[in-house]
């Protein structure tokens, strides 16, 4: 058992704690990444979000380790021993330290503001090669395409930038496909937009993410991401169906 120094300012304490912080950061970082599986990974816009999330996780792991290791170490090493009735060491503060732990976080804030700004830009921009309007109402969705096609499910071609316009007819809703990453509210009285470039073929769920009353929990719709030729085929079929409907009326 190694002998710990008496004075609280002895360098030895800080060497030990420093080593423990490093170990704890690594362990905690991997632990957090394991228990926080970010599902957003199937759109161009999801990538920067996941990347920033994981960067945050490492910072969180470090700061958590820093505080908790220092705290646990202090609790063990500076606990009152039996028969020791002395008071703690008398020091009231340290201005250098206080300035340091004000300025260093401030620098981190500047860095993260910058990174956050860039990530935000990447997570919200995209093209409008495909356009579709999603209308949310209590408690369902419909989707309108510019060519007049109306659908109960949303169909998008894979890897094509889509601009989705959002409109609510009654109360506020929110458009969210977990696998795509970002969400955007639908607000009565205004049109909002979200850029999504889906990167994976498959079936996903559009869910309403803003509490909108009784059946909010079940306000979901299907979205299918398909290869481009399949998309064109679907669109043509829809056009035919709807033209026939219009004609026979």
């Amino acid at each position: 058992m190694l002998k710990l120094p008496q004075s609280s300012t002895d360098r030895k304490h800080f060497v030990i704690v420093g080593a423990l912080v490093v170990i704890a950061t690594i362990a905690l970082g991997f632990f957090l990444l394991a228990i926080l599986p970010v599902k957003a990974q199937h759109s161009v816009q999801a990538e920067p979000i996941r990347w920033l999330f994981q960067l945050h996780v490492w910072l969180i792991a470090f700061l958590f380790a820093l505080v908790v290791v220092f705290m646990l170490y202090a609790l063990i090493v500076f606990r009152k021993r039996k028969g020791d009735d002395s008071e703690g060491e008398h020091f009231e503060g340290n201005t250098t330290l206080e300035v340091a732990w004000t300025v260093i976080p401030l620098i981190l804030v500047v860095i993260f503001s910058f990174i956050g700004f860039q990530t935000l830009r990447d997570a919200t921009r995209g093209g409008d090669e495909v356009q579709v309007e999603a209308v949310g109402f209590q408690w369902s969705w419909t989707f309108n395409y510019p060519n007049g096609v109306v659908s109960q499910e949303m169909v998008l071609p894979v890897n094509k930038p889509a601009l989705i316009s959002l409109r609510a007819t009654d109360v506020i809703h929110s458009f969210w496909v977990v696998e795509w990453g970002p969400k955007q509210d639908l607000v009565p009285g205004m049109t909002t937009r979200i850029h999504i470039t889906p990167t994976k073929v498959g079936e996903f769920q559009i869910v309403c993410a803003e509490l909108c009353g009784l059946s909010h929990w079940s306000m979901v719709a299907k979205v299918r991401v398909v290869p481009e030729d399949e998309y064109i085929a679907w669109m043509n079929q829809k056009l035919v169906e709807q033209n026939i409907q219009t004609a026979s009326r």
Binding site: H56, G88, G93, T102, V109, G116, P188
Partner: protein, 620 residues
């Protein structure tokens, strides 16, 4: 003794008499205007307003003021009411801040239990997927009630700590305005009754009450609006009183930077409460007016040309969060003050960086006014605003960090002991750390676009609120219990409480965050098992019940120890603070003679120094 000699009983009678009168007034006015007599929106609003006035009159909170208008003098009566048992004063209007503090604290605790029970109900429902016993409408009501009842419990708990402790800590006889103090407490009671009545009608928007949803739902909303208005009025009046008390009633020698650190926390909190609360009061009144009178503040309304001649839903969100973000610091700053207050006592060391901690509270309060937009990243407001609010929000982390590091500095090199209050203080730090560190990830707007309105946010704010309020509140209860009752709580039970609740809470918040990243939305009555979150939900529910059980142990402990606990003596913790230099329980007049401050509050380990001189130092 007659039941009606209790102010509370008279107040409740007054409430229902007022309710009937109010509804009648509305009906008569409507008839006079040629409308149908009964309109439930207008009827209930009139009823609630009169009921609240009825309660306040009947309970006696305005009696002295009414006498003044007639030129009658009303000298203070000190001590329990004449000819009645001493306990009755807790159920009637009493001007002693210690009584009012207990009234606040106990009511707050009661609401914590009620609000927590609501959560247990819907947590049981969420334990597995599929709707088992709570229909979505009821689920939404329970969820929404849970939030506001819990928030009210926090506001009252904060009021309890502030009212009981601040005058004691600064050696004051009482608060600056004792009658206003009593009024500010009692206005909560009719508000809470009104809030409970809303359950009969239901409402389904969550605590945020965003229009247009809150303009359409059942009439239960009206009760929520007016209940929150009442509780908000209490915050405003109470904080005004606290600010004046701290600024004008400190004893000789107690400069601002020699106040106990808890007072700094309350000063910062009060500044927020006095100013920001007015915004939510206003916003909720506007909702009520829009529902009752059709004033188009928030709901868009189109003319024949398709132009919006109505309101803007986003306006409400701005007003709401301009209060509700600063409000989250109302919830936590007092608790952080408790942490700073207790650490030096159990470390036997000065508080590290007193001035930095004091000013960081003010800094958090002030920066807190500039960040409300981080709740609206997905709302559809101007895109550049996302950047502005991202930066301002990240800035909050700086003064928060100062607190954490200063606490570590306080522990370092101490002689630490771990009775229950210290355990809860350390637990608070660990839990608040989880909450605080999950803040910046929500603040960088891009990540928030994914996490917003998911369970990750639920995990974040429960961790901040438990770490910043519930754990410190429990620490404070255990710590001042001997001062309040004169007896010690049971240490073993206290430790069991801690070791059940703390790991339970860690598991609960981390699991909530896990569910969030897996795509679990918040505020939904049922979820898709395909998300794979079912085991996570089971874990959250189990942890929730463990926490609830541990709190039952605490209640049992507090009740039994008041009878059988060991006598505590004046100063079981060897604290330097003035309230520990006087007898326990504190006598009616706390300080026999004015105290004088002759040293620093936290100079533990400095031989021969004291903070206060008790006998007025013989100077006057």
């Amino acid at each position: 003794m007659q039941l009606t000699s209790l102010g509370l009983v008279r107040g409740i009678i007054g409430y229902f008499v007022g309710l009937v009168i109010g509804m009648a007034v509305v009906m008569i006015s409507r008839l006079a205007l040629g409308m149908s007599a009964w309109d439930q929106e207008a009827g209930w609003v009139g009823g609630i307003v009169f009921a609240t006035i009825g309660f306040m009159l009947a309970v006696g909170s305005m009696t002295d003021w009414l006498k003044w208008t007639r030129g009658v003098e009303t000298p203070f009566h000190h001590g329990p009411p004449v000819g009645k048992p001493a306990w009755t004063r807790y159920f009637s209007v009493d001007y002693n801040h210690k009584v009012i503090g207990i009234q606040y604290g106990v009511t707050g605790f009661l609401l914590l239990i009620i609000g927590g029970s609501f959560a247990l109900v819907f947590r049981a429902e969420l334990a597995d997927s599929g709707i088992s016993f709570l229909q979505p409408g009821t689920y939404n009501t329970f969820l929404s009630m849970h939030a506001w009842v819990a928030l009210a419990s926090i506001l009252l708990g904060v009021g309890g700590m502030a009212n009981y402790l601040v005058p004691l800590m600064i050696g004051a006889e009482d608060m600056a305005f004792p009658r206003l103090n009593a009024f500010a407490y009692w206005i909560n009671v009719p508000a809470i009754i009104t809030l409970m009545i809303s359950m009969l009608f239901g409402w389904d928007s969550g605590w945020t009450a965003y229009p247009p949803l809150s303009l359409r739902g059942p009439v239960g909303y009206q009760m929520v609006f007016w209940a929150i208005f009442g509780i908000g009025l209490s915050s405003i009046l109470g904080s005004l009183n606290l600010i004046v008390t701290m600024l004008t009633m400190r004893p000789k020698g107690m400069t601002l930077f020699r106040m106990p650190i808890f007072c700094w926390a309350i000063l910062a909190t009060s500044i927020i409460q006095l100013t920001a609360t007015q915004l939510i009061g206003l916003a909720f009144l506007m909702l009520s007016f829009e529902r009752t009178l059709g004033m188009p503040f928030f709901n868009p309304l189109y003319n024949a040309l398709g132009e919006n001649i109505g309101g803007q839903p986003l306006l409400f969100q701005h007003l709401f969060w301009f209060y509700s973000h600063p409000a989250v610091y109302v919830f936590v700053l007092p608790g952080l003050g408790i942490i700073s207050e207790l650490l030096p006592v159990f470390a036997r060391k000065p508080l590290f960086g007193y001035r930095w901690i004091a000013l960081s509270s003010l800094a958090i309060a002030l920066v807190g006014f500039l960040v409300w937009g981080h709740h609206m990243f997905t709302s559809g407001y101007g895109e550049y605003l996302r950047v502005v609010f991202m930066i301002s929000t990240l800035l909050v982390a700086v003064p928060t960090g100062v607190k954490f590091f200063s606490w570590l500095g306080t522990l370092w090199g101490g002689r630490l002991t771990f009775p229950t209050p210290m355990l809860f203080t350390l637990g608070a730090i660990s839990v608040f750390l989880i909450g605080g560190l999950s803040g910046p990830i929500l603040a960088t707007a891009a990540t928030d676009l994914f996490l917003h309105d998911s369970y990750f946010v639920v995990g974040h704010f429960h961790a901040t609120i438990f770490g910043g309020f519930v754990f410190p509140f429990f620490a404070a209860i255990y710590y001042w219990y001997p001062k309040i009752t004169g007896r010690m709580y049971n240490e073993t039970l206290g430790k069991i409480h801690f070791w059940l609740m703390t790991p339970g809470f860690w598991v609960m918040s981390l699991a909530q965050m896990t569910a969030g990243t897996m795509g679990m939305r918040r505020r939904i009555a049922d979820y898709d098992p395909a998300l794979g979150v079912e085991p996570v939900h089971m874990l959250i529910t189990i942890a929730g019940f463990v926490i609830a059980f541990s709190i039952l142990l605490m209640i049992y402990n507090l009740f039994t120890s008041a009878e059988v606990g060991a006598l505590a003596g004046n100063n079981p913790w060897r604290s330097r603070s003035p309230e520990w230099q006087i007898p326990s329980p504190v006598p009616e007049h706390s300080y026999a003679r004015p105290i004088t401050v002759v040293g620093e509050p936290y100079d533990y380990g400095l031989a021969g120094s004291t903070y206060v001189a008790m006998a007025g130092a013989g100077d006057d």
